[in-house]
Symmetry: C2
Subunit: 384 residues, 2 copies
């Protein structure tokens, strides 16, 4: 059912292209996956995502479990049918969201409160961010929910320790993550869904090596790297990826979770990563920001008021083909939904198009030139 | 440049079908015009409006004059080019918005204040709802702005007196409106834009007759009826339309401003009206409400939580062809933009489709049967 075929390996770096076959279609790697936390990539329709050329989108177990509940989605035919997106879907396990809750204060019953998260070896007790109701999520439960949701790729339940964790805590969290990955594998029976385990270990070199080896030995269809891009320095993140990469099997797709920016995508593809997800293109659009080959720009800048140019010259997205900066600035200033829609379309197109160019450059043995040229123009230091 | 050709006249009522030719395309009448106050029909792209089969959309002079300013829009090629909508556009004159300001309290510089509107025979002085800045709008200025915006149909500057106005005030406002209409006609030179005058007179029979005759004599390409659906009783509104209609030329399209609901559209088409605009389909969508042939419904109702049916069985809109009530309820509950988009698509489709059916029924000499059948199922009393 699942097959990962490498197409081309770069001779000067770990970059590679490939195709990951899933029941709902093929994913060309390196791949960027737009995030649809609640079963919708914010502001876009599935038709638009298709037109944008997205191979796969993400959805979130934690959110859909709480509302409307995985049983309803299962009853209505699963995520694909329910959301109207019939391409591949990946669901996160909910682990990251549960542990994020522990870092935050939230509102429960209208009152600001520390949302308690209790981590036990058996699983995690937490309170819903919606109504404060208590829930207990175990590796088994996380798989059962994801089985009901029916995504093509599902994630093992993991503990994502913060970037500043002590070695002792990082090791405990990693050990639990290993134990839970085994339990997830044991629970997961559905051959139509590929289970990916998640390498943890914060930025401790030995822990990351241990975790990479452990997960590799589970021999699952793909492997994810979690717990990065969570506050550590960029240099540390890249180093950690290099260490992990050298202990991962070549013949499995590697999914770097929660990354990223255009520059991070290039750096991490160079270090052998194949799949990525990030909320940035949709989130920055909501704040009136768009990407061009020269960096990030705010459309509400007064200089765009009577600007008859598209967001990016030569860009082939629906936004750039049909609208001026002047009109988009107007829409965003007036808080008109179409403004955010158009910026979202452009930003997702920008990242998907970047991935297309990267894949082509790898296939043509020109990745390093492409990377150098892109970063020079983009402004290397942006977002660091 | 402009031509109104009657196609069929109902023998049992004043209903009729026709085609109004404009520089950007033909408008099949009776026509419903979706409202795009700020140059965007809320949440939709021009592509979607085209797919929905809208013949014409509205934009608002008052809002676009204040921001970004008509000069910018002119510089960028006019409303059609700027908004990406290349079908016919109608701009309201700003009169209605200015007088509405006088009825409301608003925020100026962050403080709640009575927004002052001073009506003089020469024009209207008002403060912007955005920054409190003083403006003076005259009939000449309203036309000049609309010439710059470049819509196919533009409206004379009028004074829309409230539904509860005294006869004395209603007459003064009407006299000013007549005087202003003459000044608008004199100012307007662009042959590519059709100027419509607006019949006023509140619900005073003699005033309405006087106004209808006055406007008819101006011999402009179309005539609008304003100042209705502003608080008076439905029965009074229908009666007033009947009176006005009998004094309007047959060979001009009649535009009833700010109407309406499905039942009002039917009642007013029966009374000889040809064109309509209303914010309802977009506004109720933002509140989670959709139309079906049985009336209005709120999608956030718990009964839809696991409902696998489309909003309306047999409906051919993108929303009903692809999504379940369950998914749309979820999106609206979670405040996801796609939810409002889908409801907006459905509601506009619903009204445009109703208009198609009405036109067919008139052409087939079956209008009264169609109206009776529709209202019986819809629940006649809704929205009254």
């Amino acid at each position: 059912m699942f097959e990962f075929r490498l197409k081309k390996e770069d001779t000067k770096s770990c970059a590679r292209t490939g195709v990951f076959k899933t029941p709902h279609g093929n994913i060309k790697t390196p791949a960027f996956m737009p995030v649809g936390t609640l079963g919708t990539v914010k502001t876009l329709s599935p038709k638009e995502l298709k037109e944008l050329g997205a191979d796969i989108i993400l959805a979130n177990t934690y959110h859909l479990y709480l509302r409307p509940g995985e049983k309803i989605i299962k009853k209505l035919g699963g995520l694909h049918k329910w959301t109207g997106w019939n391409g591949p879907i990946l669901t996160d396990s909910g682990g990251f969201q549960v542990f994020s809750l522990g870092q935050e204060k939230g509102y429960v019953d209208g009152k600001k409160t520390k949302i308690s998260v209790k981590i036990k070896d058996n699983g995690v007790e937490f309170r819903s961010h919606i109504d404060g109701k208590k829930h207990f999520l175990t590796p088994e439960k996380a798989i059962e929910i994801q089985n009901d949701l029916g995504a093509d790729i599902i994630m093992a339940f993991d503990e994502c320790a913060p970037g500043n964790s002590s070695r002792k805590y990082a090791k405990e969290a990693m050990d639990r993550t290993h134990d839970w990955a085994v339990r997830c594998k044991k629970t997961h029976k559905n051959k139509n869904q590929a289970l990916f385990p998640i390498v943890q270990g914060v930025t401790y070199k030995d822990l990351r090596i241990e975790s990479a080896k452990f997960m590799a030995e589970l021999d699952l269809p793909g492997i994810a790297i979690g717990g990065l891009s969570v506050g550590e320095r960029k240099k540390k993140m890249y180093e950690t990826i290099e260490i992990v990469e050298s202990h991962l099997p070549k013949n499995r797709p590697r999914y770097l979770m929660g990354v990223g920016t255009p520059e991070d995508l290039l750096e991490c593809i160079e270090r052998g990563m194949d799949m990525f997800d990030c909320v940035l293109p949709t989130r920055i659009a909501r704040h009136g920001t768009f990407w061009s080959e020269k960096g990030r720009h705010s459309i509400t800048n007064q200089k765009y008021k009577a600007d008859s140019k598209p967001l990016c010259k030569g860009c082939e997205c629906y936004c750039c083909q049909n609208f001026t900066r002047s009109y988009i600035k107007h829409l965003v200033t007036e808080k008109e939904v179409l403004g955010i829609r158009l910026l979202t379309i452009h930003n997702i197109h920008f990242l998907l198009n970047l991935m297309r160019q990267i894949r082509e450059s790898i296939d043509d043995s020109k990745f390093s030139q492409f990377k150098r040229k892109f970063l020079k123009q983009y402004g290397h230091r942006q977002g660091k």
